[in-house]
């Protein structure tokens, strides 16, 4: 009922390029310092591939987020990334029964070296999810 069968489902591999203009726009929007390095959270805005059978619901709350860089991410880099559902679990919280979804995004460069791993945890009341 909570979607354990989703664990292991993946998106297709998608190619992305870190464009100077987009990084610049991101920094300008946030009014943060931009020194030609890619802000640590920027790449998350580009990794939006669909995972078959899984849809982010409008009421889902973002609980946790982690970025790990195995090597620096640079402007001009071309990478391929893939999203995968790493875990689905249910907990009883002050909001009642809540379903958590852990989604991992991995990015590799053209020579196959891992550049980043992003882990995102979202949650939604179990009942609401079941009714959608």
């Amino acid at each position: 009922m909570i979607g354990k069968e989703l664990i292991g489902r993946q998106s297709e591999s998608v190619v992305l390029k870190i464009e100077h203009e987009e990084v610049c726009r991101f920094a300008e929007t946030l009014e943060i310092q931009f020194d030609d390095r890619v802000p640590a959270t920027f790449v998350e805005t580009l990794t939006r591939a669909d995972i078959p059978g899984f849809k982010m619901l409008p009421g889902m709350i973002h609980g946790e987020q982690k970025f790990t860089y195995h090597r620096p991410l640079l402007i001009g880099d071309i990478l391929s990334y893939k999203l995968c559902i790493k875990d689905v679990y249910e907990r009883t919280t002050k909001l009642g029964k809540v379903t958590f979804f852990v989604i991992e995004t991995t990015g590799i460069n053209l020579t196959g070296e891992q550049v980043f791993t992003i882990s995102s945890t979202f949650f939604a009341p179990t009942k609401e999810t079941a009714n959608e």
Binding site: T29, L30, I32, D35, F42, E44, T45, P58, K66
Partner: protein, 134 residues
């Protein structure tokens, strides 16, 4: 001024203050492609039990990352940044980001991070690893 090599356990990072507003939240939706109505539509957010629109967690996290990059300058890189969103951030809040060195292993600094609103409520807790360049 930064000189990351001189930072030791229990040293504090420079504080950063950020005042989220509706315009920034809307602009972040556009730049990130996250148009979840809980960030944009007050009526929707109220019906969802949130009491009004909330900032994207990723917007607040981006400012936490900016606190780190402003501090480290060209002397280092963020190799890991992990956060837990503890409480919602809303337009009109005044968010202050804090950090403290919790561990130092050769050229890696581990920092405990948090952000608090104007009522001293913790809105984000986090952990970062910074590698110091040679």
């Amino acid at each position: 001024m930064n000189n990351l090599m001189s930072y030791q356990v229990s040293d504090r990072l420079p504080i950063k203050v950020w005042a989220p507003n509706h315009l920034q939240i809307r602009q972040y939706s556009e730049v990130s492609g996250d148009f979840n109505p809980i960030h944009l539509d007050d009526n929707y957010a109220i019906r969802a039990g949130l009491g009004g629109v909330i900032a994207h967690g990723m917007l607040t996290m981006a400012h936490m990352a900016a606190m780190l990059t402003e501090w480290i300058g060209q002397e280092g890189n963020i190799v890991m940044l992990s956060v837990r969103f503890e409480q919602m951030v809303r337009p009109g809040n005044k968010i202050t980001f804090y950090g403290i060195i919790s561990e130092r292993v050769e050229k890696t600094l581990v920092c405990n991070l948090e952000a608090r609103n104007e009522n001293e409520e913790k809105v984000i807790s986090g952990l970062a690893k910074i590698s110091i360049n040679n």
